[in-house]
């Protein structure tokens, strides 16, 4: 069997570079999978489809980190509407004002230096 030509992580980052939040879907498990993998953790199958999220979700858990140096910042777990959870940060709001249950919308934090792009979220109150 030939080696895979791309990794789950590389595919995920390629999507972020195009402004897309990608995740995997396991048809056999009928479930969203995140983080991206080579096999489905429910069925063990390697049949996984890539899908693009609409980018909307809800804050599931939240904390504020107080670094020894620098300003406090938010770290949150987001339940994305397509049925998967991911770690991220809610921006454009004071970190302590991020609330569980808050509706949020995805945007890309662009690549900088050696760091690839990553997904962050902003408040989307009133969003469905």
């Amino acid at each position: 069997m030939a080696n895979a030509t791309t990794s789950p992580l590389a595919t995920y980052i390629e999507h972020l570079e195009r402004g897309e939040l990608a995740f995997q879907f396991s048809p056999e498990a009928n479930a969203a999978i995140f983080y991206p993998r080579v096999i489905c953790p429910f069925t063990g199958s390697d049949k996984l489809e890539w899908r693009i999220s609409k980018g909307t979700g809800t804050v599931y858990a939240t904390t504020v980190v107080y670094p020894q140096k620098g300003e406090p910042y938010n770290v949150a777990l987001i339940n994305v509407d397509e049925g998967f959870r991911m770690m991220s940060r809610v921006e454009d709001i004071a970190p302590l004002d991020v609330r569980i249950g808050m509706r949020v919308k995805f945007r890309v934090h662009p690549a900088a230096d050696d760091e690839p792009p990553y997904p962050v979220f902003t408040p989307a109150e009133g969003a469905p």
Binding site: A61, Y66, V75, L77, M87, I100
Partner: protein, 386 residues
């Protein structure tokens, strides 16, 4: 069903190594060896009797190999399973299985860490996780803080209730001559301490100390010939639900539900049969989650349950009687110290903090970020035959 037989093995020797702040240049292996030396002395055995080596540390990638070299035990049966702080509870089950299978006759389980001396970053380098590291969670604290946020949201658990856990641990620590913390602590002290990762202040977080130790295990028939009464392994269960906090199925339920249920079943006991409870309190939310998941109170009631000093020295349920990871000692991975304290309680060796008529103890180890849960139920001869 784990194949282990209730009471087939016993812990016969226990000891801490130097703990707190150890001498400059001490290595994790030095502390393991010191713990083994003292634990063997505790039960009247010698180094030459040891033929099973179980160990884990973040400071030696091949710790069993290093320990076999250090102790000159080329033929020893080895196991350096590492699942974070609960590794040593897992080792108890693995040692029990190895003893039953005849793979060894005298098993030592050892730990050592010099994280205070050399710095936490040096002692335990974080692996890069492309799905978490970019967000700079302060791990492990932020992972447990996320779980606390969820518990507070769903069940109305309060900041003060979290602080009750730290206060109870401190009251126990004041009764333990070797505990790191020596001064009283109030709820107000916890709330006004330096914030670390909301809702936690530094007083919601375990200590960063050096330390190590060892326990010695033998099969039940061999164990009875030694000087001190054996402490029998009556029950065991484990559950590894995730590795990263973003993959934890539900932040308000831990794998302690499954590990505890398996341990109770093997021990033929329930929570009301337990006299002493030793829970891995890396953070204040841990104690609340584990009391719930191990059946000591209903889900969501943990905050109210710990209020009013219920788990302190004057309370009705003795929990973390050495002062815990919060106030006694927490050298990176704490699981071994839970076992040491439980054995000492069941032997009646605990002086001012001794729980009266302690015949059974539940030890619950936690590894990673609420990831690897392992429950060990221990008992005296009376508990074994009850």
């Amino acid at each position: 069903m784990n194949g282990l037989k209730r009471g087939s093995a016993a812990i016969v020797g226990v000891a801490e190594s130097d703990i707190g702040s150890v001498a400059a240049g001490m290595s994790p292996l030095d502390l393991m060896a010191q713990g083994i030396h003292r634990a063997l002395r505790d039960c009247g055995l010698r180094k030459r009797d040891v033929d099973g080596v179980f160990c884990a540390t973040t400071q030696a990638r091949t710790s069993a190999m290093s320990l076999c070299e250090y102790l000159n035990l080329p033929s020893a049966y080895t196991d350096s399973t590492i699942v974070g702080g609960s590794s040593f509870e897992v080792h108890v089950a693995h040692a029990q299985a190895a003893l039953a299978a005849g793979l060894c006759n005298v098993a030592v389980i050892a730990y050592g860490s010099t994280q205070r001396t050399i710095g936490r970053r040096q002692a335990s380098a974080r692996e890069y996780n492309p799905y978490e590291t970019p967000f700079r969670p302060f791990l492990p604290a932020s992972a447990y803080a996320l779980a606390a946020s969820r518990h507070m949201q769903e069940f109305g658990t309060t900041r003060e209730q979290l602080a009750e856990v730290a206060v109870a641990a401190r009251e126990w620590a004041l009764l333990n001559p070797v505990a790191w913390e020596k001064t009283p602590l109030t709820i107000e002290d916890v709330l006004s301490a330096r914030p670390v990762s909301h809702p936690f202040t530094v007083r919601d977080c375990c200590l960063i100390t050096d330390g190590g130790g060892a326990i010695v295990m033998m099969s039940v028939d061999d164990a009875r010939s030694l000087g001190k009464p054996p402490v029998y392994v009556l029950g065991y269960g484990q559950a590894i639900t995730h590795a990263s906090i973003s993959s934890m199925p539900d932040l308000t339920f831990t794998g302690a539900r499954e590990s505890g249920a398996a341990a109770y079943k093997m021990a033929r006991m329930r929570e009301t049969d337990i006299d002493v409870v030793e829970l891995y309190d890396a953070f204040t939310i841990n104690t609340i989650l584990f009391l719930e998941d191990l059946g000591f109170c209903p889900k969501g009631e943990g905050g109210r349950f710990v209020s009013g000093g219920r788990i302190g020295p004057k309370g009705s349920l003795p929990v973390n009687t050495n002062g815990g990871g919060l106030s006694y000692c927490h050298p990176g991975m704490y699981g071994l110290f839970l076992l040491i304290e439980a054995v000492r309680q069941l032997r009646g060796e605990c002086g001012g903090r001794q729980v009266k008529q302690a015949e059974t103890a539940l030890v619950h180890g936690n590894g990673g970020v609420l990831s690897a849960q392992a429950t060990v139920i221990l008992g005296t001869q009376a508990a074994l035959t009850a």
